[in-house]
Symmetry: C2
Subunit: 254 residues, 2 copies
């Protein structure tokens, strides 16, 4: 194999991780779009000057992070929000008894506002920065169960229109991806219990002060930039938030 020179920034970094970063750069630069296949493993090996094993280790990590998706016999594809799996990767509310179901989304309002202090902090933008604010109501099992209040930094979503949001036949995250080239790679959620405010109570058709699950979600893209802040208010009479964790066991020595 020809000698291939390692870039300066890659000193001390395993080769497969350097390859991984190069693939991520290509993705960030839009060389391969969501839903499209990336070149075959052999091609990528030639391009980066590494063996299959090394390339596969890089792609392994990217598939584990849901950035790429492999299909045996077909190829490796850039993850796209059109797939159902993505929907449920980020939507954690399910019936206490019975099967998972898709929420029925009802658009209520889109407005442009100056972000408040709390929102600025969570979004990582300047105080008073412009944001798009979207209000949705979600139905599950034929009943209004969730109120979503969404804040989007104007700098990622310039020109977003009410029509785009109201008329879409896809998930919001797919809209972000298709229309604004914003890929959600990771989310973080903080939960607490609150009594329903008058506004939320009216939207859900319940009494004020009814205990609700309050979820503050931040959605991140490349470089951990926050692209969405979402407050969800969930009526948990018949639904619940589901999470599972693998253990963090460690050996004594560490």
């Amino acid at each position: 194999m020809d000698q291939v020179f390692r870039s300066d920034v890659a000193l001390g970094m395993p080769l497969y991780r350097e390859v991984k970063h190069k693939i991520m750069e290509a993705l960030r630069d839009g060389e391969w779009k969501p839903g499209e296949p990336v070149p075959a493993e052999k091609r990528l090996c030639e391009r980066f000057g590494v063996s299959v094993g090394t390339l596969r280790k890089a792609v392994d990590e990217l598939t584990a992070e849901n950035i790429l998706i492999r299909h045996q016999g077909r190829g490796t594809f850039v993850a796209s929000h059109s797939q159902d799996r993505y929907m449920f990767g980020f939507f954690h509310i399910c019936p206490k008894t019975g099967q998972k179901e898709y929420p029925k989304v009802e658009f209520i309002r889109l407005s442009r506002e100056k972000v408040d202090a709390d929102g600025a902090k969570r979004l990582g933008v300047a105080r008073g920065a412009k944001v798009v604010r979207i209000l949705n109501r979600l139905g599950l099992g034929g009943r209004a169960v969730i109120v979503d209040e969404i804040f989007l930094p104007e700098r990622f979503f310039a020109g977003m229109s009410e029509e785009q949001v109201r008329e879409r036949r896809t998930t919001l995250y797919q809209l972000y991806q298709d229309e604004f080239d914003v890929a959600v790679l990771r989310t973080e959620e903080r939960l607490d219990a609150v009594g329903a405010s008058a506004d939320v109570a009216a939207l859900l058709g319940i009494a004020e002060d009814t205990p609700l699950l309050h979820i503050v979600r931040r959605a991140m893209t490349f470089r951990d930039e926050v692209v969405e802040l979402r407050h969800s208010y969930v009526l948990t009479d018949n639904h619940e938030y589901f999470a599972h964790e693998e253990s963090t066991l460690r050996t004594p020595g560490e």
Copy 2:
């Protein structure tokens, strides 16, 4: 390499997964105990009759599931619970502002009861089976914030005494491991919002019907057997539940 016959159950299963299962069997049989090293990779290659690459792929999955831990230059160890790690792994409540802190656990009561219908279903035991019931109150920042109600199947924890639980200077999961050979490998949590019951309100010093975060946690060991059912009632004035999602690592079937 000598011909090594594959076991019947392994038909259609990749070799590395068969090796993984054999390692898990050895762990379940107590061949290597928590905190101890497992044999070196080369030894395991000989034992299972596979190449390093294949063995490493098996061990890769086991480390990803936190069942084994690798230390370069030292060896590969069976994961073990230690006090500090408990926080990061299973305890998801943290202050809304400020640093993570250790909860101050106050033991309230241990009793033996017959499990109710809901508990039987969640624990996967027969209706009316005997369980150990433990009631704890947890303090954070000098204030009572959480009430924990814990149910343990008698068949895993026969002979558990109030003294063991009250006098312990470790986490409960470490007690399960050290005294009852029960390793918690995975947990699942379901959250909803409820109004405080009279009992819980009294323990937390709050008004009845105050909105609380209610967490139902199931803790699993090998073969996904449920070894603990825990109801946590959390006052979320100053604390919240934290979760983050990046890799939904499930592949089977797809």
